[in-house]
């Protein structure tokens, strides 16, 4: 199960994905295929299953039916496969989830050193490179709680990038931020997108979706109700619920 580089294989393939919490069905027959370098934005009302879906992709949630194939590796009970996929898939969370007992630099170095077995010097060079990229190289020796929310989220992005993943998942990365910090995080994400990273973002930042997304998905009730390029999605949506949602999000 290590055929990660076949050209025809999409970066991510989800087939008939079902997910239950007890008797509640959170995901209903999700089908999604993401090509390498593609940027997907997922939106929808809260409780629609967006987060659950992307958390299934790196097995923070275990799916109950259907298949998930990431970079040619099927996600199943095989622990080796799970490890392999998690190495190649980075994730950024709504609440940053930095390790509060480690410095920014240590946050970024810990996983490359332990999982990728990188020597310390190399891990530090990589970490500093990505901290530079998210524009906070001067904060390397600080602890997460000494930084603002926007800075913490940029550290979280740098931390994920230090593993040099092939796919990045963003789970509402700007929802917990003060309004004036949203753009600094989105700018980093736009840059990342322009460099060809495969990205799946759960977000309500419709401006970002317009600018970056190749496709926008609308989810509700655990299903993907609509899937379209941004121009089409925002102007001529066929779905009643999508239009209602958009009017609420864009209404102000």
């Amino acid at each position: 199960m290590t055929s990660t580089n076949s050209t025809g294989e999409p970066a991510l393939r989800i087939e008939n994905l079902d997910k239950y919490y007890g008797t509640f069905q959170a995901l209903r027959g999700i089908n999604l295929s993401v090509q390498r370098g593609e940027k997907i934005v997922v939106c929808g009302p809260s409780g629609s299953g967006k987060s659950t879906m992307i958390r299934c992709i790196n097995r923070l949630e275990q799916h109950n039916g259907g298949r998930i194939v990431v970079l040619g590796t099927e996600l199943n009970d095989d622990v080796g496969n799970i490890d392999e996929i998690r190495r190649e898939v980075g994730m950024v969370f709504q609440h940053f989830n930095l390790f509060p007992h480690m410095t920014v630099l240590e946050n970024c170095m810990i996983s490359p050193m332990i999982v990728r077995k990188q020597p310390r010097a190399q891990a530090e060079a990589t970490a500093r490179h990505y901290l530079e990229k998210v524009r906070i190289p001067e904060q390397a020796m600080k602890y997460p709680s000494q930084l603002s929310g926007g800075q913490q989220q940029r550290v979280a992005i740098a931390r994920a990038l230090c593993m040099q993943p092939q796919i990045m998942l963003f789970d509402e990365p700007t929802s917990a931020l003060d309004p004036e910090m949203v753009s600094e995080v989105l700018d980093v994400m736009v840059t990342l997108a322009s460099e060809g990273m495969t990205m799946i973002c759960v977000t309500h930042e419709m401006g970002f979706a317009r600018r970056v997304a190749d496709r926008v998905l609308f989810m509700d009730g655990g299903e993907i109700l609509e899937e379209a390029p941004p121009d089409e999605f925002f102007t001529s949506s066929r779905n009643e619920r999508t239009r209602q949602f958009l009017s609420q999000v864009l209404g102000h």
Binding site: N58, R86, F99, P100, K142
Partner: protein
């Protein structure tokens, strides 16, 4: 005059004077009355008795002790016994508590049920009952003739006999200190060089320090070895009694077990609380970075849980240290029992109790101070917010 009494500042000052004055009067009255009563009974107060010989024996001592020794020497023996019992009890209680606490947070239903039952039972039975329970069990073990034996260990009603290296007692004490250093030194080094030294090199320095300390311990043991004896002294039956090895008296074993089991049930809850306080977000982030569950435990969950646990744990340790005074219930000569015996034999009640209180204050304040230092050293930097 009336207007002066209406002044708020004057009133406050007056109240303070009255307050301090009445306390001083009470203390003074107490001292005067106590002196008169003592004089009536023909007891001279003062600390001269410390230098008189006691005339009675202690049943457990890490230092040489005879009935001719003065009281101050006995107090020292008592403090050392208390510290020894306390350290053994605290270490065992921490081990028990960690195991049970982890069982309580485990995803396994059976482990959780067992952990919960353990905590429910041992936390809710008074310590003194548990002490009597374990003492009854231990003193009803078979006689030395029909002792339970396994790997040279003998379990009898006269205590637990264990094989013991044939080394001089001074050398053994020195080696013990070296072994403790092998544990404490790496931890301390890890702290002091936290920012200056990178993780990888820090570990090498820590390992080196531990290795040096352990090597010292080995050398001390080798040098202190009694000539012409086997490496280990095994206990063996000789006549009606057991000879050789190290005897752990039933009284000490009872208290160590009771403190371990009882303290363990409290520490288990502290451990559980500590791990519950670690946000799932950090754990998920660590997993999403590809770290294995074991690494997530050692690098994220444990360090964060420890920080949450430490202040409460220090509290619990101070409490358990005081629980060593249960020694008097089974006749273990801890500090408290020595003081009680001193009062019986010398009549110097106030002085002896003063020494007892000062002794426990010193022990527990030092314990608290050490933990405060550790706590400060590892506290999360910044505004203490997780996130």
């Amino acid at each position: 005059m009336v207007s002066l009494l209406r002044n708020q500042k004057v009133r406050n000052a007056l109240l303070q004077v009255l307050y301090v004055g009445s306390i001083a009067a009470m203390v003074l009255a107490g001292i005067v009355i106590a002196r008169r009563n003592l004089a009536d009974q023909g007891i001279t107060s003062g600390f001269d008795f410390l230098f008189k010989s006691t005339g009675w024996d202690v049943n457990f001592s890490l230092l040489p002790a005879t009935a001719n020794d003065p009281y101050w020497w006995y107090f020292l023996i008592g403090i050392i016994n208390t510290l020894f019992l306390g350290s053994v009890g605290l270490i065992l209680a921490t081990i028990v508590g960690t195991i049970v606490g982890l069982a309580r947070t485990s995803s396994n239903d059976l482990a959780r049920l067992l952990g919960r039952t353990y905590v429910d039972i041992f936390r809710n039975i008074p310590l003194i009952l548990q002490v009597f329970f374990w003492y009854a069990i231990i003193t009803h073990l078979p006689t030395p003739r029909s002792a339970h034996e396994a790997w040279g260990f003998l379990l009898t009603s006269r205590g637990l006999y264990i094989p013991f290296p044939n080394v001089g007692s001074a050398a053994f004490a020195a080696a013990t200190v070296a072994v403790i250093a092998a544990i404490v030194l790496p931890a301390w080094l890890g702290r002091t060089s936290r920012l200056a030294q990178p993780i990888g090199q820090r570990r090498a320095i820590q390992l080196a320090a531990a290795a040096v300390a352990l090597a010292c311990a080995a050398i001390i043991l080798a040098l202190g070895r009694l000539p012409d004896t086997p490496l280990l002294d095994f206990p063996a039956l000789q006549g009606l009694n057991l000879r050789g090895g190290l005897r752990i008296p039933p009284e000490f074993a009872t208290l160590a077990i009771a403190i371990a089991i009882y303290g363990g049930s409290y520490i288990a809850e502290i451990v559980r609380g500590g791990f519950k306080s670690v946000g799932t977000g950090q754990v998920e982030a660590a997993l999403s970075l590809g770290l294995s569950p074991w690494r997530v435990f050692t690098l994220v969950r444990l360090p964060l849980a420890l920080r949450a646990m430490l202040p409460i744990l220090a509290n619990q340790y101070v409490w358990l240290m005081k629980a060593t005074t249960m020694g008097i219930a089974v006749g273990f000569t801890d500090f408290f029992m020595i003081v009680a015996l001193t009062i019986n034999h010398s009549g110097q009640t106030l002085e002896a109790i003063g020494i007892l209180m000062a002794g426990f204050l010193a022990i527990n304040l030092s314990l608290a101070a050490v933990f405060n230092r550790i706590n400060k050293a590892i506290a999360l930097k910044g505004n203490q917010l997780r996130g």
